[in-house]
C-alpha cells in the first residue's frame, strides 16, 4: 500500500499539478486497462507515460503514429535472414510493457485497428504464429482534438477498448510558474527512481481483483448502465464491457485509496473517464457531461 502511495507521489513530482489524472492513470494501469489521453501537444503526455514506466520499472517504447504507418510497423515483421536462410521475426514496438502510442488518430484506420486488436487480445498473430505480449501490457495512446485535418477519428467501437479517457489540460497558473522556474522536465524525469518492479505491480494487480464489491454496489453500477440505455439521451447505452470496466476501475480506485472494498464514491470518481468516451449524446441534449448527467440521475441507494 505504501508502495502505491509512494509511486503516486513520485509521479506527482515530475508531472506537476495533475494529481487527479495521475491517480486515474495509475488506476487504469492497475485495472489492466488502456489509457487514452486526449490533449493538445506539449501538455506533458509523454512525460506522464515515461514517468509511469520508470516508477513501475516497465519496459517503455514510444511510437509516433503517422498516416503512412503500416500495421507491421507496430506489430513486427518477418524478415529473411540470408545467413541462416530462414525467416526471422523482428518484433515490433508493441512487444513492450508500456507503449506510448502518440497521436494515434494520425494513423489510418487499418493501422489503428491492428494496435487496438493487440490491446484487446494481449497477443499478436504474425504469419500464423500467435505470440503473447509481455505482462503487464499497458498502452497509453494520445489523440489530438479530432477537428484537426489529416486525422482519422477512432470509431466508437474502438474507443470502447480504452478503459479510460482523460485529458490533462493546461497547468494551473501557480503550477506553471513552478514549471517555468524549475527548468526542463527532462532533468526531473531522469531523476525518477523505480518504486516497484514488474513483479510487485502484477501482485498489486491481482489484489485489485480481490477488492470487494458488495451486492448493493453492483446494483448501483447496474442501474447506472441501465439508465444509460433507457434514458434516451445517448445514441447507444453503455456496453456490458463498459460496465465491467467501470467496476474494475472503481476497484483499482478503491485500492489506491487504501480500501479493500468499493464505495459509490469510487464509482463516481472513475465514471467520467470510463464512460464519457463511450457515450454519445443524441443531438440537442444538454451541454453537461454525459457522466455527470448519469451520476445525477441515478440514485446511489435504491
Amino acid at each position: 500500500m505504501q508502495l502505491l502511495e509512494q509511486s503516486l507521489e513520485r509521479v506527482g513530482r515530475v508531472v506537476l499539478g495533475k494529481e487527479e489524472q495521475i491517480r486515474l492513470a495509475v488506476a487504469c494501469l492497475l485495472a489492466r486497462g488502456h489509457l487514452l489521453i486526449e490533449d493538445l501537444p506539449g501538455i506533458g503526455k509523454t512525460t506522464l507515460a515515461y514517468t509511469l514506466a520508470r516508477v513501475f520499472s516497465l519496459e517503455y517504447r514510444r511510437v509516433q503514429f503517422t498516416s503512412d504507418m503500416l500495421p507491421t510497423d507496430i506489430l513486427g515483421v518477418s524478415v529473411f535472414d540470408p545467413e541462416q536462410k530462414r525467416f526471422h521475426l523482428r518484433k515490433g514496438p508493441v512487444f513492450t510493457q508500456l507503449l506510448l502510442a502518440d497521436e494515434i488518430n494520425r494513423a489510418t484506420p487499418k493501422t489503428q485497428s491492428a494496435l487496438l486488436e493487440a490491446m484487446e487480445e494481449r497477443q499478436v498473430t504474425l504469419d500464423g504464429l500467435t505470440r503473447d505480449l509481455p505482462e503487464p501490457f499497458f498502452v497509453v495512446a494520445t489523440q489530438n482534438p479530432v477537428t484537426q485535418t489529416g486525422t482519422f477519428a477512432l470509431p466508437e467501437s474502438q474507443l470502447d477498448r480504452f478503459l479510460m479517457r482523460v485529458s490533462l489540460g493546461y497547468p494551473a497558473p501557480e503550477v506553471e510558474l513552478d514549471l517555468l522556474a524549475g527548468g526542463g522536465e527532462r532533468s526531473r524525469t531522469i531523476s525518477v527512481e523505480p518504486v516497484m518492479d514488474a513483479g510487485d505491480l502484477l501482485q498489486v494487480m491481482a489484489r485489485v481483483e480481490e477488492v470487494r464489491a458488495s451486492r448493493e454496489l453492483l446494483d448501483y453500477v447496474q442501474r447506472l448502465l441501465d439508465y444509460s440505455r433507457t434514458c434516451g439521451r445517448f445514441a447507444a447505452g453503455l456496453s456490458p464491457r463498459a460496465g465491467l470496466g467501470l467496476l474494475r476501475a472503481a476497484r483499482a480506485w478503491a485500492l489506491l485509496a487504501g480500501r479493500d472494498y468499493v464505495i459509490p464514491e469510487d464509482v463516481q470518481a472513475v465514471a467520467a473517464p470510463v464512460c464519457e468516451h463511450r457515450l454519445q449524446a443524441v443531438s440537442g441534449a444538454g451541454a453537461r457531461g454525459a457522466a455527470e448527467e448519469l451520476l445525477e440521475a441515478v440514485a446511489v441507494v435504491r
Binding site: 470487494r212 458488495s214 451486492r215 448493493e216 454496489l217 440505455r229 433507457t230 434516451g232 479493500d260 472494498y261 468499493v262 464505495i263 459509490p264 464514491e265 463516481q268 451520476l295 445525477e296 440521475a297 441515478v298 440514485a299 446511489v300 441507494v301 435504491r302
Partner: protein, 695 residues
C-alpha cells in the same frame, strides 16, 4: 397509400399470436376457406410489419370483406345466427389486422380479440377451454400493454407478467360478481342452431343400433345421489318408451295415438288423473339425485323409474309412460333434479287405447315366432308363468350374447330365434316383446342405459354411451307395468357388472374402444381418469350449472332474504370487501425495499424532516457529511451511523450479523429522543424537535 403504423415490436408478437389463438377454436370447426384465409391474412400482416409487403388498399380490403360475407353465406346459408355470426366475426377480425394503419386500429383489434375469444364459449365450455381462453386473454392484454408502452425499450415478457398480475388481481372481484350479480331472465330467446351431430339413443331401435353405441366411451350423463344408491342391477335409466313395431324397428307411438291419452304434463299445467295417482303412490324405496346430461340434441331425459321432477325447471315434464321429457331438444348440458319411487309404478292404469297400442303387431310375418308364443302360452298357467317360460327358454337354449350378431333377413325375429341365435340386447328385447304381444300380453320396448360407474372422487356416478341398453316392460295384472330384461337371462353378468365383463367372459372386446378401456384397469390411469372426470363433473356442477335458482338459495342462506335491496346491499358490501384491500394493495403498497434500503430511507426521511434533502446522485457518505455540517448537534451519531451503514452496505463484513446490529443500534441512537452522547451539547434544540416528530 397510408403509411403502415409500426406496431411496437414488443407488442406485435402478442398481437398476432393473440389474434391467431383467439380465432383458433373457431378455425377448428370452421369452414375450410376460413381455416386457410386467416393464417394467410396474419402472415400478410407479419410480412408488412417486416417491410416485405405492403398492406392492401381500400379496394382490396372491401373485396376481401365481400368474400368473407359470401363465404359465410355459402357455408352457413345465412349470415345471421351464432354460428354464421361468429364465422363472419372471425373473418372480419382477421381482415382488421390488415387495417392496423394506426395506433387506434391496433387497439380495436385487441378489444375485438376479447370478443372473439368469448364467443368460443358458444361452442364448448370445458375447463381446458376456459384455461385456454384465460391464457389468450392474458396475451391480448400483454399486447395492449405493449401498445401503450413508452417508445423505445419494452420487454414483452414483462408485459405478459404485468398482464398476469392484473388478471390475478381481477380474479376475486370476478368471483364475487359471478356469484352475486343477479341473474336476469333472457331478454329475448336465443337458441343455438341445431347441432350437427346427435349422440346417444335415437328415437327408434332396430337391430344393431345399440351395439353401435357400445363403441363409444363418451359420457352420456352423470348422476350424483343425495339419498340411496341403487344396486348395479337396479340401475335402469329409462329414456324412451317404444310402443310401435313394424316387424323390424321399434319406434315411438305417433303423436295422434299419444295425444288422445293425455300423454304428457308440464309444470303449471293442470295435473292429469294418472299423475295424481302416481303422486299418491309415492312410498317405499326412494332415490333422490341430480342428473347432469350431456348435450343430446333430443328431448328425452334419463331417470330411474318412476321419476318425479321438482317442478323448478318448467321445461321438464312427465309422461304417462313414466318418463321425464324436455320441451325442445337438449342442446346444452342440462342438470335436473329427480326423485324416483320404483314402487309407484303399480299405481298406473292401462287405458284401453294404450292396451291396443301395446298389443299391435304387423299383420303377418315371423310365423314361427307367433306359433312358438301361442304354444308356450298354452302350456303356461298364467301370463306371468308364460313370461317366465320365455326367459327360461332364452336361458336354457343355445342363445349367445354378442356384439357381432349374424345378419338377419326379412323375417328377422324368426331367423334370430330359430336359426342364428346370436344377438345383442336389442335383439333379445325385440324378440321378447314380440313374443309377449303375440301371446296377448301388452308389451313395449324401453331404451336407455343400464349400469353406471361410481367415481370415488366427488361421489357421483357416470354413465357412458356403452352402457346403452334396451329392455322390455309388460303389463301384468295386478302388478301393472313390469320390467323384464331378457338380456339378463342370456348374459347375467351384463346386468350385474356391465358390458365389459359380459364381453370378457365371451372372449370378445369392444374393438379399439375396448383396448382403451383395458388401460383403465391400471390403477394409476384409472385414478387419472377418475380425476379428470371429476374435474369435468365439478366444473359442470359448480360453474356451468350455477343459475338463478342456486343464486336465490345462496342469498337466502347468506343474507337471509332475496329482496332487491337486500341483494344490492350484500353485493355492495362484498364488493367493498374485495375492492378495498385491492385498492390499498395497489395504491398504498410501498415498493419492496430490502432491509438495508429501509434502514437508509428511514434516516433519509429523518434528515428530510430537518431540512436536509438528499441531492440527486449523492452518495450516502456525502449526504451524511453534509448533514453533519448542517446539523452539528447530531453530527456524532450521524457519523457513527454513516460508517456503520458503509460497512454493512459496501464493507467487507456486509452480511455480518455484528455489523448489522451495529447499524441498527446507530440508527436508533440517531433517532432516539433519549439523551445520548449527542445530548451532551448544551442548547440542543434540534434534538428536542426530533423528539416530537419521530412517532
Amino acid at each position: 397509400m397510408t403509411r403502415v403504423y409500426q406496431v411496437p415490436h414488443q407488442a406485435f408478437g402478442w398481437l398476432v399470436g393473440g389474434t391467431l389463438l383467439a380465432s383458433l377454436p373457431h378455425l377448428w370447426s370452421g369452414p375450410v376457406w376460413l381455416q386457410l384465409s386467416l393464417p394467410l391474412l396474419l402472415g400478410w400482416r407479419v410480412l408488412a410489419h417486416r417491410g416485405r409487403l405492403s398492406l392492401p388498399g381500400r379496394n382490396v380490403r372491401v373485396l376481401l370483406l365481400l368474400g368473407a360475407v359470401l363465404g359465410t353465406f355459402y357455408s352457413h346459408g345465412t349470415i345471421l345466427g351464432p354460428e354464421a355470426g361468429t364465422c363472419l366475426l372471425v373473418a372480419a377480425f382477421g381482415l382488421k389486422m390488415l387495417e392496423t394503419f394506426r395506433f387506434r386500429d391496433a387497439r380495436v383489434v385487441v378489444v375485438l380479440g376479447y370478443f372473439v375469444l368469448a364467443t368460443a364459449f358458444l361452442f364448448g365450455q370445458g375447463p381446458l377451454l376456459s384455461l385456454y381462453v384465460i391464457a389468450v386473454m392474458m396475451m391480448l392484454t400483454a399486447a395492449l400493454i405493449g401498445l401503450h408502452h413508452p417508445r423505445g425499450v419494452g420487454n414483452a415478457w414483462r408485459h405478459l407478467r404485468l398482464a398476469a398480475v392484473m388478471m390475478f388481481q381481477a380474479l376475486p372481484l370476478m368471483v364475487v360478481l359471478f356469484v352475486l350479480v343477479p341473474r336476469i331472465e333472457p331478454l329475448w330467446s336465443l337458441q343455438m342452431d341445431e347441432p350437427d351431430a346427435r349422440t346417444g339413443m335415437s328415437d327408434s331401435v332396430s337391430p344393431g343400433d345399440i351395439g353401435r353405441l357400445s363403441e363409444s366411451d363418451e359420457v352420456a350423463f352423470r348422476v350424483s345421489f343425495e339419498q340411496g344408491v341403487p344396486e348395479y342391477r337396479e340401475r335402469y335409466w329409462r329414456g324412451l318408451v317404444l310402443s310401435r313395431f313394424d316387424g323390424r324397428t321399434w319406434s315411438r307411438a305417433d303423436n295422434a295415438a299419444v295425444d288422445a291419452i293425455d300423454y304428457d304434463w308440464f309444470p303449471r299445467e293442470p295435473e292429469p288423473p294418472w299423475l295424481h295417482r302416481l303422486r299418491e303412490a309415492r312410498q317405499g324405496e326412494e332415490y333422490s339425485y341430480q342428473v347432469i346430461l350431456e348435450r343430446t340434441g333430443r328431448p328425452w331425459l334419463f331417470a330411474l323409474s318412476v321419476p318425479f321432477t321438482d317442478g323448478e325447471n318448467r321445461n321438464i315434464g312427465m309422461t304417462r309412460d313414466m318418463r321425464l321429457t324436455h320441451q325442445g331438444d337438449v342442446n346444452q348440458r342440462l342438470a335436473y333434479n329427480v326423485r324416483s319411487y320404483p314402487r309407484a309404478a303399480r299405481a298406473m292404469d292401462l287405458d284401453e287405447r294404450e292396451r291396443e297400442l301395446n298389443l299391435r303387431l304387423p299383420g303377418d310375418g315371423n310365423p314361427q315366432a307367433r306359433e312358438r308364443a301361442r304354444a308356450l302360452r298354452a302350456q303356461a298357467e298364467s301370463d306371468h308363468a308364460f313370461a317366465e317360460a320365455v326367459l327360461r327358454w332364452f336361458n336354457e337354449e343355445e342363445f349367445h350374447y354378442t356384439l357381432s350378431p349374424s345378419r338377419l333377413g326379412d323375417e328377422h325375429i324368426d331367423e334370430f330365434l330359430f336359426s342364428t341365435r346370436r344377438g345383442f340386447c336389442e335383439h333379445y328385447a325385440s324378440a321378447y316383446a314380440f313374443l309377449m304381444r303375440a301371446a296377448g300380453i301388452p308389451a313395449r320396448l324401453v331404451g336407455g342405459y343400464q349400469g353406471g360407474e361410481m367415481n370415488p372422487l366427488g361421489n357421483y356416478m357416470r354413465i357412458h354411451q356403452y352402457d346403452a341398453h334396451a329392455w322390455v316392460e309388460i303389463w301384468l295384472e295386478p302388478a301393472g307395468w313390469v320390467r323384464v330384461d331378457p338380456t339378463a337371462a342370456v348374459a347375467p353378468e351384463r346386468i350385474e357388472f356391465g358390458l365389459e365383463r359380459a364381453l370378457d367372459e365371451r372372449g370378445e372386446g369392444r374393438g379399439a374402444a375396448g383396448v382403451f378401456s383395458r388401460w383403465r384397469e391400471n390403477p394409476v390411469l384409472r385414478g387419472l381418469g377418475d380425476f379428470t372426470d371429476y374435474v369435468q363433473f365439478a366444473w359442470q356442477n359448480w360453474i356451468l350449472a350455477y343459475d338463478r335458482r342456486d343464486q336465490l338459495a345462496l342469498f337466502e342462506q347468506w343474507f337471509g332474504g332475496t329482496s332487491p335491496w337486500r341483494v344490492a346491499v350484500a353485493l355492495g358490501i362484498m364488493l367493498g370487501i374485495i375492492v378495498l384491500p385491492l385498492a390499498l394493495w395497489i395504491l398504498v403498497r410501498r415498493p419492496r425495499y430490502g432491509p438495508l434500503q429501509r434502514e437508509y430511507h428511514r434516516v433519509v426521511r429523518w434528515l428530510a424532516r430537518r431540512g436536509v434533502r438528499p441531492r440527486s446522485g449523492e452518495t450516502p457518505r456525502a449526504l451524511i457529511g453534509r448533514a453533519a455540517v448542517e446539523l452539528p448537534a447530531s453530527a456524532e451519531p450521524l457519523r457513527a451511523w454513516g460508517s456503520a451503514f458503509e460497512s454493512v452496505a459496501y464493507g467487507a463484513d456486509g452480511g455480518n450479523e455484528q455489523a448489522w446490529r451495529e447499524l441498527r443500534r446507530a440508527g436508533r441512537a440517531l433517532r432516539s429522543p433519549i439523551p445520548g452522547r449527542s445530548r451532551s451539547r448544551p442548547g440542543d434544540g434540534e434534538q428536542a424537535h426530533s423528539a416530537d416528530s419521530e412517532r
